[in-house]
Symmetry: none
Subunit: 384 residues, 4 copies
């Protein structure tokens, strides 16, 4: 049995997502499970180094996770041939700089989304990798959420007939921090445009690959952003002006005629099945897709409601749906994609979630902002 | 005790809504309860005559309801001074003609919505009444749905703080009629543009007065219509081409900054609390408003969700809401508005739901269609 | 990073409360978490010495907790400048003597409540500290119970409108010890007046600061004490006469008109949400405040009950309340106050819970006893 | 089988309580069940006449109930020997005048409580009947509430050992009427002192006979009244000043040492088992007594709680109680007492609920008001 080490530079994973999803639940979890087993003869074993600017943070993270190989000297790590993969989870506005250095060092590139806040930059980054002949990829974790996997399972079986429309709702109430013992639960930069914040740039990147893969290729967007809460309290207890959109009301058209109506908000109290829900209506059946669960109603089970507000609604509109059962223990979505990328690098297996695909997400976000500013639909051109 | 008869011409109430809501649950119910009692000394008692073109239908309706005063001679009824009120529930495209005759006869005018399919026509009809100095009104029944009354009750008490946004969902699955024993449950003209059909013209009239009265004055709309189902089966079992929109994806802006995101569809399977739900999010609390019920979550009860798709969602997102209790036996919404209109005519009490208000609904629907066709936001100008 | 040791004399913490709450869950827990972190550069690290009369008990405690620095020579500890803080959790009747010695030694004084059983003594002790210019404080742990913090969170947001009244219920069944295998679960001195026992002196100290901080400044009290159980079994299995009150029925008036009706009893079986519950009724909403949880009913959710004893009550009077969610992992209440006192001593941060504030609690307890004996309301004069 | 008619003058039963409880659920129900059957040979059949000042109201009531014998001529009814019983449910302030006339006419007297608002007047009324040798009684319906009957059932079996204390809570939220669609649900005179309103005079009359019969003879009271809501909206939509107490915080002492702590409020939101609950704690067991249900916890089932606010309370304090089962279909409480009074008049069976007993209720209420005004305990002297 060959155990092949795959060196991975993890840059900027001291943030919440980087630490929890990429380091602990992906790379460390892969190590803890004994690596990625390939047939009977080979194991791919991640060999990570954590890079960043703040040594104290890196040391604390090393202590917490047991991944003790840390360095503030990114240049040295990039120069080290033991590390063929460079992963970046730093701030969006710093991403391009790091990736460019890694490309020069000939690394395979993997990074968090959004890869940029401008489509041109995202495309340039993708082309940089392509021109250098480097393997590359971008995180599209939501494709492996158990709820979406269940959707794809039943969709592939023809459950929906023709899909007609999708209604997406994402978000929850993010506390403003103004009140005693109700601190904000998201970082303040999310609400500042000048720091790359805003829900459109954050979420429309996701909606692009989710829709493209699941429902139909997106061709156009109408989007209204809003900053409903003008002031919040920051990490130091100081009020600050919110300059970025905290809610996005978007409609997407797909080339197959499907319409997707998506609501994304950090100012909504949740009365639905999950933090993200997508209701998919098709000619033969409908589904409500959540993060982990999926409920369906087929044509056979569709009730015939009567509009009569003089009596309480006699139909239980939740009872008439059926939960799609689990068919396995669903692994962490980030980890699944990490395993695919490592196999892509090590074994040349296909990996369709390239930086150019990631650029499409940035394109949709930018088109959404244009739509908001110019108060019109914006069509998406093919990239390049 | 004086019992004063109020003669009312009910024109075109042989349709489903006209018969059920206006004749049986409103006028007949008022008669059955002993009229409208005004203080200790006066009762206003409706004295209806049913007019229409089809004598057989009228006779059948008379037999069914016990309202035996019927006529196909509308001219005679209009000429009869015993009938000061003319009500029209005929097809939209016929409305103007009937109203014009009633105006000439000096009647007080009350009618169903939409009053026209073009704003200019709706405004002209309103001005016709105003210029003739005639009292007039349009049906805006949803304002008296118990769920909306509960909303207004708590809104008036400051429950919401500042309202930020409203997410409306309306509709249900209308069967196409293609399948054995699953007949369509709505008339075919609803799906034909040439017959005045379409969900935009039907529903945006409602959303206008609901939003104007409850959330903020509407100033602009972005709307995408769709005809998701191209063919349905008509009342005679024949297939027909659907030429009207069967779904509308709309966003409304209000002058106070509130954003309303409304979905209206006849092609959706219902997984929500009611056939119409509006989630209202405010700084201090949120409500889910249904036809008869209303659920609330105040700031005090707002949970702090954590995004962790590796485990099932630990928060019950429905359990954290509280139902607003009933505070009375809620009367039929149409009947309440009928009583107000009769008091308006007989006693000069205020009645703000004029034909000009109704024209605003037509304006919003027409703007919605323009937005759809021109793929842009359409601002609403003040009428006249 | 500077780690500054803060020497603390913990006197008389061999009792249940002293050991569990002050030593283990506060001081030791602070040490175990790495001290109190102040910004990026400073850590305040408690350095405790346990003092008492019984060396064996001290050694046993040291072994159990790992805090091995113990001494029966209080005078030496007081003379040692490494210990700027003196904390006393000895019996109430011994408190003054210990504190006077610590004041002479120039220590910052922190102690358990009640600081005395007579107001004059409590005030004298407070003035002794003030005149000596020493920082001082008294335990008021209930202010940091998670349930009360949730109350303050929603109160600050205006949830209640005007608070009208508070109904407090405290207590549970303390077994008398007469029966096989049902031993008493509280020490016998609690039930002997001559040993400083009695529920009035024990609990009204708490109610003073809870009401003062949360509901309104207390101005008067009417209190009835009772010794419902005349005989109990002591720690040695011997019967003894109960000479102290085991139940207190009190009403408090506040300067803002709020009325607090509090029941405290060791002879009641619990049928309520928690061992201590306070129902707060306000014009806009009500809350039921427990030790860790808090349930609310807003005006929007207030039902309209009908008095009809001929049928079972159709309203679920518990269902119509909503639990206030957790917004953090709530730290131990004693520990939170300890951290504040240590910061007060080391960094001059404000600490409003002084010995004079503690004397107010004694004042209320003494007024309660006077009210009981003289069968009348007793008004509270400003102290000093 | 003899059917003996018992003529009963029902005076002033057009109010809510008079109509529902006395006329419909008592007298009419007795008639409908075929009278009161006495052994095998006799039936006592009520033969009511409804008297009052407003003929229209009487006629409407006759129509509604089928009791068609009505009259505005009380003098004639009193002069009619067919009516040996006079019942009065008029306003409290009118009661004495009516009773005096009926006494002169030699009727057996039965009336609603309170019989007066002053003890002297209530005693005088009782002595008037006694001196005239007339049978007399006062409504004390709560004694026959199913919940209280269950309490008496288990109490008589020795369930409680020695009763130590009782904690009573009565009331609910009475809407002020200020808000849209939330009208007040009690008459405005209840909140006006000048009209005989106030919760002390209303409820302490009840608490007197409930405590006297169930727990111990009341010997003293400390009571604090409050008018928490200063303004409400009356039946005509007009604001009015509330001059009567809307909440009462009372403590009662009994000659057997039992302490009763009772809260009565129209400004409290209900989070308890019923609109009226009394928790009775005894040495051997406790009960929670509601209107219809009763839950118990015996010594055997009493848990041993631990005070540890660092964890959620592990004991389910509601689960450890057991509901006392129904032992029969419980008849309406008013009807039961009516049957007893009719048997008392017709058959000389004992009836301990005399006007002098009723005067004790007035005495407690008046003492409660004195206690409030003079801020002291008030002892109850034996009447007469």
């Amino acid at each position: 049995m060959e155990i092949r080490k795959i060196g991975i530079i993890l840059n900027g994973v001291t943030g919440r997502m980087g630490t929890n999803q990429h380091l602990i639940r992906s790379i460390k979890a892969i190590i803890d499970q004994g690596g990625i087993r390939i047939g009977d003869d080979l194991v791919l074993m991640p060999d990570p180094i954590l890079t960043g600017r703040n040594e104290n943070k890196l040391r604390a993270l090393a202590e917490r996770t047991g991944i003790t190989n840390v360095s503030t000297d990114l240049a040295a790590a990039l120069a080290d041939p033991r590390y063929p993969i460079f992963f970046d989870a730093s701030l969006t506005l710093l991403r391009a700089g790091f990736v460019e250095r890694a490309v020069k060092a000939g690394k395979a590139i993997y990074c968090e989304k959004p890869t940029a806040v401008k489509t041109a930059d995202a495309v340039a980054l993708a082309k940089l990798c392509e021109d250098a002949g480097l393997k590359n990829g971008v995180v599209q974790d939501k494709l492996w959420l158990p709820g979406l996997r269940k959707f794809r399972m039943i969709h592939e079986q023809g459950f929906f007939g023709d899909i007609l429309s999708v209604r997406g709702e994402f978000g929850y109430w993010v506390f403003t921090g103004h009140h005693y013992d109700q601190p904000a639960q998201r970082p303040s930069w999310n609400y500042r445009d000048e720091d790359g914040g805003g829900i459109i740039i954050d979420m429309l990147c996701h909606w692009r690959y989710v829709i493209d893969h699941c429902f139909g290729k997106v061709t156009g967007v109408s989007c209204l952003g809003a900053t409903h809460i003008p002031e919040r309290i920051d990490e130091n207890g100081q009020p600050y002006a919110c300059t970025a959109d905290d809610s996005a009301y978007a409609t997407f058209q797909c080339e197959n005629g499907v319409v997707c109506h998506f609501n994304s908000s950090w100012n909504t109290r949740v009365r639905r099945d999950d933090l993200l829900t997508m209701q998919v209506d098709g000619t033969k059946g409908s589904a409500l897709v959540g993060l982990r669960k999926c409920w369906v109603q087929s044509s056979a089970g569709t009730p015939r409601p009567v509009w009569n507000p003089d009596i309480d609604q006699p139909i239980d509109f939740f009872g008439g749906w059926q939960e799609v059962p689990d068919h396995q223990v669903y692994d962490n979505a980030f980890k699944i994609q990490w395993e695919q990328f490592i196999r892509h690098v090590a074994l040349d297996e296909p990996f369709p979630y390239s930086l150019m695909e990631g650029a499409k997400g940035v394109q949709l976000a930018e088109a959404g902002i244009t739509s908001w500013k110019e108060r019109r639909w914006v069509d998406l051109e093919p990239l390049r």
